[in-house]
Symmetry: C2
Subunit: 592 residues, 2 copies
């Protein structure tokens, strides 16, 4: 059973990702450590005691579709109600609409806990919060006043409707139609797939944000508009009224996150009897500028999906550690007790557990640092704002892709530590792997994240922003070296080497892009994202260790450096030396 | 849908693993290429056309337990019958008992195909063949003549009963009791768990090989005996008669291989009404020497589970490649056709596909080479026999652990290539990952394999056998260098470096063991097994390329060297430099 690691989360927020310094500088008004700790403590209690116990019924029962209505697993509707009553949905919401206006960092940290307790539970509010952000930034005042307060409180939920069968990563291919109805509203027609929480019984209304094309729109991504399409049209008094012509026609049977309804949504097919076919929608932002609005949601959603990777890794680690302490097999020299040794004493099991813990904490530090950059961008102005916005943009693909890869790898190690029991569903270790496997895929596959990093983030600030960041990480390595402490082992040396690798590979990719050798750069994108993330994660673990000199933190950052950071050399080779053979082999073997 | 890669399998057997040279030398009598090709072709047809179509019903329906009887999925019983009628179960069986006496290599190659088509189908016969081997080597003539012919033909199936709730990796802890009944038979009492195909409706009888303790047996592994316990006792005429007191009390609900019944078996609990409680068993081999008998089965079963990793990786690759050719998203510079590019043209997808293919072929080459060593050991005498036996022993942990890790990694990459569709069960990509996940666990976890490699296999031949093998691999690297061909890129150089790493790390571990620093050696065991396997796999891919100079094989071995072999440096660091920090971190963080 998951126990929220409240102290570890608080420490990472404050001392690794920068919350403490920002609070000390008054950046977040009167937000102080006491309030931060109180919020995290209460969230931890709620996640551990109220969400986690409903994990299993969610996984086993799943969401059920019947006659267009989705029933959530037993107890889940009440759980959601308690959760919104606790104010957890409104944490980051704008104060004007009843939100608490707390930093993104707090939202991300609490979201980690909900997702650790149940990824299937966490993903619904994640997307709803994204809808809030898109509306707040781009919608008209009328739409905001009609919808935002209810979405912020969680009384209603929002969804993101992007994907169509032929349009997944490539949104240019989408075909859902929007027609002007003459009264300022639009009619939407088309089919969307993979719509998370597209239909459910949590709330009285569901507010769909839908990408569609107007008849006279240009082809490609410059012809996409964003619409708000509520499940129930609103009465004069703002309450849900007539059923809109949007229906769920199917839910997917998935590998994991069974309680999260993944819906096929049909717009404007006339299912709503007695009405003209066509789902009534309202434009958000300007016509044909929908993608820009959607990117507001997507960028944050990417970080929040990254947090799912951290979250499931944390739970998998806790579960594996508990099992390793309990399960006894064989002898171990470090165990002097009676009978067989708990397997936690076997060096091979220790390596797996430490790898799990180190990767989880590295991923957490990256994700929280990304959240910090988002917060700083929001409160800053001028060049500072641009700097922090660039930083958030740079870190988003790392936070999404690295963390979710870590989620899968750590969950898989967790299964392995359980031995045969890991393969039995009752144990719950396998369920975490099943859940974790979606996160590298949705909100932009990790391959797309790597392409985004190389082609859109390396050029930031004329290609200089990335080196500013690397310089900051280098400062950490130098600080470790300056400690001159045996406890850190070879951490400083290895970190310096890895930073050198990161720098030289970054220049290599920038040069390839500059020379128009885009395919070569793209061929190295995935190893580059991993290399970058390992270096950042290693540096952040060192920053954590330096922050208070705690023996455990030092041991973990040293373990990471001496056991995991060595991978960077191989990744560097793959990027600089491996792409020619990739092109040759692809030609000979797969696309011939 | 799986199509057996018959030519690739034949090539790997003949030109990488040594079958051709052995046949040319007359090692396997009149076995020649024509027969080999004919067998593989027909097996490929059967696997692709008869086994694979029943995969999905097996996964969806699973094996069902009711009133102690297990019903296999619809069509499976007939499938098994056709399969035994085709002679596939008897391929490696001893000729004296109706087997075809073909080399293990042929059994392994065909087993790969059954497992590619369905791991849940392949695992039953795998264990049954192990039972044949244990009986053939250790059982009395009476037992052999009563059981072997039926087990060889597949009319009956055999099982391995080792695991108990408290005794998984550590068999010393097992408690199942055996009592002498006075008439030469024994009565068995106890519970076994995780018994693969412990109960099913494929055959009229099931022959359990069961580890148990006699009342006066020494403690630990020197007090374990092996018994044959049939589901039905035999009548005078050898047909199944009275029900024995062994019953299946439950089957596990597992992550994957749903059609493989994983049974809890209760021995001697008196369920068989009207009889004295106690399952009637016959001793195999000598009292208290059961583990030695069981190791006969286990060693080969380890190789055969390794083949499951290769098998599922092959299927995952085929599925992903087909999807990547069909699915279109975005633009790619290498695609000049109309509309969106098939995703196989995207460099990142190509990297994933090539990684899948290269790892699969490397794992296959290692597994087949292990099978070759087993064959050579069987037909050799004197020093040659010892040499080949050592070689088989050395390669078994690599074949088991590396291949099954590859199975999981490749299946996971396959899910990723499918994008959102990969998470939908209907697509079938996720099912392969679910299936693959057991193979690193059963028949000795991969952690146990690594410990076996370091502590039992490195000392073989006074610690010299391993260097003889490395020397052979070095010969391949030298041959690549001698080609002096641009097409190989930096293959020779990288392979030489990796071989140097392997040698130095091997000496390092041998020294640690010699110095009694066992824990340090164990802490490096898993990275060492992977390092060893990557080097061997890389060398074998080069041997394949050298064998016929085929452009595709050269491209693949170069891709492996330039993209995957670089990992060896990091693994070396982890082994030589990482274990101190592991010990420190374990003390500080997890076993405190």
């Amino acid at each position: 059973m998951y126990r929220a690691p409240v102290e570890e989360i608080a420490f990472a927020l404050k001392h690794v990702a920068g919350l403490k310094a920002a609070m000390d500088a008054g950046t977040f008004g009167d937000l102080g450590e006491d309030l931060v700790d109180a919020i995290l403590g209460e969230a931890g209690r709620f996640a551990s005691e109220e969400v986690a116990p409903l994990y299993k019924v969610g996984d086993r029962t799943g969401a059920k579709l019947r006659d267009g209505a989705v029933t959530m697993p037993p107890g889940w509707k009440e759980l959601y109600r308690h959760w919104t009553e606790g104010g957890w949905n409104s944490l980051n919401g704008p104060e004007e609409y009843g939100g608490q206006g707390l930093p993104t960092m707090m939202g991300v940290a609490t979201l980690e806990m909900w997702n650790s307790a149940s990824m299937a539970f966490g993903i619904g509010p994640t997307l709803s919060m994204g809808a809030v952000e898109a509306l707040e930034k781009h919608a008209s005042e009328d739409l905001k006043s009609a919808y935002l307060a209810k979405l912020v409180s969680g009384e209603w939920m929002g969804t993101m409707n992007l994907t169509e069968p032929q349009a997944g990563s490539d949104l240019a291919a989408l075909r859902t139609r929007a027609e002007r109805s003459g009264d300022g509203t639009y009619r939407i027609y088309g089919q969307k797939i993979f719509i998370t929480y597209g239909e459910h019984d949590f709330t009285d209304n569901i507010v769909h944000l839908v990408l569609a094309r107007l008849p006279d729109a240009p082809a490609g991504t410059r012809g996409i508009s964003l619409f708000l399409v509520p499940k129930f049209l609103l009465n004069e008094d703002g309450t849900p009224g007539a059923r809109n012509d949007v229906f769920c026609s199917g839910i997917e049977e998935k590998l994991g996150i069974h309680a999260s309804p993944t819906c096929t949504m049909i717009y404007g097919d006339g299912f709503a009897k007695g009405r003209e076919p066509g789902a009534v929608g309202w434009l958000i932002g300007e016509e044909n500028r929908g993608l820009a609005c959607m990117f507001t949601m997507m960028n944050n959603a990417r970080l929040l999906v990254g947090i799912q990777g951290v979250a499931v890794a944390e739970t998998a680690f806790q579960k594996a550690l508990a099992y390793a302490n309990e399960r006894r097999q064989g002898k171990a020299s470090s165990y002097s007790g009676e009978g067989m040794a708990p397997i936690v004493h076997h060096p091979d099991v220790q390596r797996n557990l430490l790898t799990m813990k180190a990767l989880t904490q590295a991923a957490r530090a990256i994700a929280y640092s990304c959240a910090h950059a988002i917060d700083m961008a929001r409160v800053s102005t001028g060049a500072d704002k641009a700097h922090w916005q660039d930083r958030a943009n740079l870190l988003t693909p790392l936070a999404k892709a690295f963390s979710t890869d870590v989620g899968v790898d750590v969950a898989s190690l967790g299964v392995q530590i359980h031995g045969g029991m890991g393969f039995i569903e009752e144990t719950g270790a396998a369920a975490l792997l099943r859940d974790a496997r979606i996160a590298p895929i949705y909100e932009g596959t990790n391959g797309i994240q790597a392409i985004d990093l190389v082609t859109r983030k390396l050029p930031l600030g004329n290609g200089e922003h990335v080196f500013g960041y690397v310089g900051e990480l280098d400062g950490i390595a130098i600080a470790v070296a300056a400690m001159n402490s045996e406890a850190y082992g070879r951490t400083a040396l290895i970190l310096e080497q890895a930073l050198d690798d990161l720098q030289s590979v970054t220049r290599h990719l920038q040069k390839q892009l500059g020379d128009g050798r885009t395919d070569d750069a793209l061929a190295g994108a995935t190893p580059y994202l991993r290399l970058f993330s390992l270096v950042a994660g290693g540096a952040y673990l060192a920053r954590a260790a330096l922050a208070d000199g705690d023996e455990r933190r030092i041991a973990l950052c040293r373990f990471f450096a001496e056991n995991l950071l060595g991978e960077t050399a191989a990744l560097k080779d793959r990027i600089t030396g491996g792409t020619a053979s990739l092109a040759a082999a692809a030609k000979a073997l797969i696309s011939a």
